[in-house]
Structure formats: structure tokens, C-alpha cells
Symmetry: C2
């Protein structure tokens, strides 16, 4: 029921062919979606990237390209990578909190009489204190498969 | 000491002007860095994005663009978003583990006699069980500032 041109063909002021690569993923009802990916990746690159994928994966690829483009427009310096940095910090926070909780459990398990109100002093590794982007050099979490593009060095 | 053309100008087979926007961030010694961002974003878009930023932020922008481009080449469907998904899953795992540990601490604190070997049954919210990309609709973590581009809906 695709009467009329898709958002991409409208934007590019061209006829929308029957086999238009953009048409299924950039409906005319959401012109902002196309203008966003066009601004960051360029229509030609988006078309190429979709074309290189099997059809059943194109929708997800279009969605993630749109997401990345939005991130880059909102945050022109860091884009998506800003979110990745933030999530790494959250993981470090959670791991620190977990280490504290586990030390407290160990204390309770080895204490002959429970002392509910006692303060437990917990040693947490200094390396877990993330105040800058030093997590880039660390690799404490197990996401090697997804982080593989950069191996141990992140940007360089 | 930039004798010769930068990687971008070499790739584009053009003279490298003195004020070349690519030159400081795409040295001729690393041609792969430029070809990577060119393949995903296009040279013209990369140039525009750098030009729109104050000079002191351009290097970081070039680094994150390179990172994103590498991710997209490695993972043409999800790109960087694949890493974000993975990190969300890690955060959910850590939060579940923390909830278990905290319940165990509460058990110890309320138990009159410590029973180190006793199994503690912990109720963990079913919503924390991430087996697909349902975290996209959740927003349990506090990263609203960085996740703002998409507000509560992620891709659509």
C-alpha cells in the first residue's frame, strides 16, 4: 500500500522505483527519519549499506543507523560513543557496589555473632575509581566479542 | 611537520591545502583510519561535521567517528548499537546479582544465628530477565542525559 514516494525519494526529489532500497524503511510519514540518516551518513552510503545486507536484516540496520544518526546530531563530538562511556561507568559503579556487598556477606559468614548495625569497612580496588575515560584502556568486562573492532586500544 | 598530503587528500587524490580540515586528524601514516570513516560517513559529511565543531573538540570527534565507523564495518546490522545492547545486558546482570547479594545481607542481619552454608532464595523481578532487546523500552538506569536523543522510544 505504498502510494506515492518514500521519504528518501521525496527528499532527493526523484521518482520512487518499485524496488527502491529506502522505501520499506523510510516511509513518507516520517520524513525526519530519512533526513537524519542522510545528514550523518549520506543517502548514498545508507543505500549501499542496506543493499549489502540480506533483506531480513535491513529494517534493523535502518533502525540502528537512525539511532546512531540521532545520537550524533544530539552529541556532535561523541555521538553513540558518549552513551557507551556512560554505560561503562555504570557497570563500574555496579561492580564496586557488588564488591562491597560481597565483602559484607563474607564478614557476616565469618562472624560468630551477627552485629546488624556494625559498619563494614570494605577495600575496593583503586582502579575501579573511574573519574575520566580511563575505562577505554581497561577491559574488565566480558564483551570482547562486541568490542573486537578496536581490540585493546580504543580509538587509535 | 606535515610534509606531503594527509590521508584524506591522498585518498581523494587532491592537493592538501594548508587549512585542510582532515589533515590534523587523518595523518598519511594511517590511511585505514580515513578510508574507514569515508566508507561509512562519506568524506564530505566527515569534513562538515568537523568544520561545525570548535577546533579543540575536533580530535575527539574524529576519534569517535572512527570508532563508530569501525563498529559498523565489523557489525553492519547493529554497529555501535550492538555494544550498547550488550552493555545494557551487563548492567542488568550486575543489578540482579546485587539484588541477590543485598537480600543475602538482609537475611544475615535478621538471622539470630549465622548459618553460612544456608541457601538463600532471592526473589528477583522478572522484568530484569533480558533475553531479547526489551531493554530498549525499559529505562531503569539513570543515563537520561545521554539517552535523550531518543527519549523513551528508542528507534522509532
Amino acid at each position: 500500500m505504498n502510494s506515492g514516494r518514500c521519504a528518501a525519494c521525496k527528499y532527493l526529489r526523484r521518482r520512487c522505483p518499485k524496488d527502491c532500497i529506502f522505501s520499506p524503511y523510510f516511509p513518507p510519514t516520517n520524513p525526519q527519519r530519512f533526513s537524519c540518516v542522510h545528514r550523518i551518513f549520506g543517502a548514498s552510503n545508507v543505500g549501499k549499506m542496506l543493499q549489502q545486507l540480506p533483506e531480513h536484516l535491513r529494517e534493523e540496520a535502518a533502525d540502528t543507523l537512525y539511532y546512531e544518526a540521532q545520537c550524533r546530531i544530539e552529541n556532535p563530538v561523541y555521538g553513540c560513543v558518549g552513551i557507551i562511556t556512560q554505560l561503562h561507568e555504570q557497570i563500574n559503579d555496579a561492580e564496586r557496589e557488588l564488591a562491597r556487598a560481597q565483602a559484607q556477606i563474607a564478614f557476616h559468614q565469618h562472624s560468630p555473632h551477627p552485629q546488624p548495625q556494625q559498619q563494614v569497612q570494605v577495600e575496593v580496588s583503586e582502579s575501579a575509581d573511574i573519574t575520566d575515560s580511563s575505562w577505554l584502556e581497561q577491559n574488565e568486562f566480558d564483551s570482547s566479542a562486541l568490542l573486537s573492532p578496536l581490540d585493546s586500544t580504543w580509538f587509535f
